[in-house]
């Protein structure tokens, strides 16, 4: 979605790492999942509070959003924890995913792609 523009756009391909020992610090872009929701969110860490034990709770926000993500978390949930993180964005390549998105959003496009793929295979079998 557009919540991290102008850095990332729908269709960009992100490279993630998920090393548990990597500390979570503000400014980092994390991929996290909210309990009960399937779709992960890619936003920036805005606030962290870390106990001496290493337990950490943190708050995120999309660069392009006016408010932080608290409204997106589960009801009664005010913070994210390490267990909610599925990865850290380390790099990206733009636009690659746009083909997949177009195929999902426009079935006719998907059929066209499949049709031409089929033609391609047939032609090359000669």
């Amino acid at each position: 979605s557009g919540s991290m523009e102008p850095a990332f756009h729908r269709g960009d391909l992100l490279f993630l790492t998920n090393r548990i020992e990597d500390p979570i610090r503000v400014g980092e872009i994390v991929v996290f999942r909210i309990e009960g929701r399937e779709i992960p969110i890619v936003h920036r860490v805005l606030k962290i509070h870390e106990r001496p034990s290493g337990d950490i709770k943190f708050l995120t926000k999309g660069d392009n959003n006016a408010v932080d993500d608290r409204g997106l978390y589960k009801r009664g949930q005010h913070w994210l924890e390490k267990k909610d993180v599925v990865g850290r964005a380390r790099g990206f390549v733009p636009y690659i995913g746009i083909v997949t998105i177009l195929m999902n959003d426009y079935p006719k496009f998907k059929y066209a792609v499949l049709f031409f793929l089929g033609l391609f295979v047939l032609v090359h079998r000669e």
């Binding site: 102008p6 850095a7 610090r25 503000v26 400014g27 509070h49 870390e50 106990r51 660069d63």
Partner: protein
């Protein structure tokens, strides 16, 4: 700088800090020099120009406060951020800035806390490639007072 005991929503009463700051950033290399003048903080000579090469789309700048409290060994709070696109004026001359985001502590650790460190950092966003986080080499220490302000004159 003041802190008021305050709470929003379902949270317990937590310390809320108010900081105003000036950011003067002339953007050329990563050396920063900071000086404190009364209640105002200058981040001078923050040189970032050389960063804007052909593969840099934007910088995501953020001013963060870092400190320790009795409960939490490490706290980091982003007070202000700005997206600087390639082509934007690389010189920042921002005066009397108020923080964009509420500076709530997780508890009451701001009162009397002498050692809050403000740092300016940035995330380099390329057209394609790695996303490094860079911290400016200068930082400023902000001590919070021992008492709460009872009136909010913000």
């Amino acid at each position: 700088r003041k802190n008021v005991e305050d709470f929003t929503g379902p949270r317990e009463r937590s310390d809320l800090g108010f900081i105003t700051f000036d950011i003067t950033a002339d953007i050329l290399n990563e050396k920063t020099r900071l000086c404190k003048y009364n209640m105002v903080f200058f981040l001078t000579h923050l040189h970032l120009q050389s960063i804007f090469d052909w593969n840099v789309k934007q910088l995501f700048l953020y001013l963060s406060a870092e400190y320790s409290t009795k409960n939490n060994a490490l706290n980091q709070v982003v007070l202000w951020d700005k997206i600087m696109l390639r082509g934007d004026n690389p010189r920042l001359f921002l005066k009397d800035m108020k923080s964009k985001y509420f500076f709530f502590d997780d508890g009451n650790g701001l009162k009397g806390n002498r050692n809050i460190t403000l740092t300016l950092s940035w995330n380099v966003v390329p057209n394609a490639g790695i996303l490094p986080l860079v911290t400016g080499s200068g930082h400023v220490s902000v001590p919070f007072p021992d008492t709460y302000e009872t009136t909010k004159s913000y």
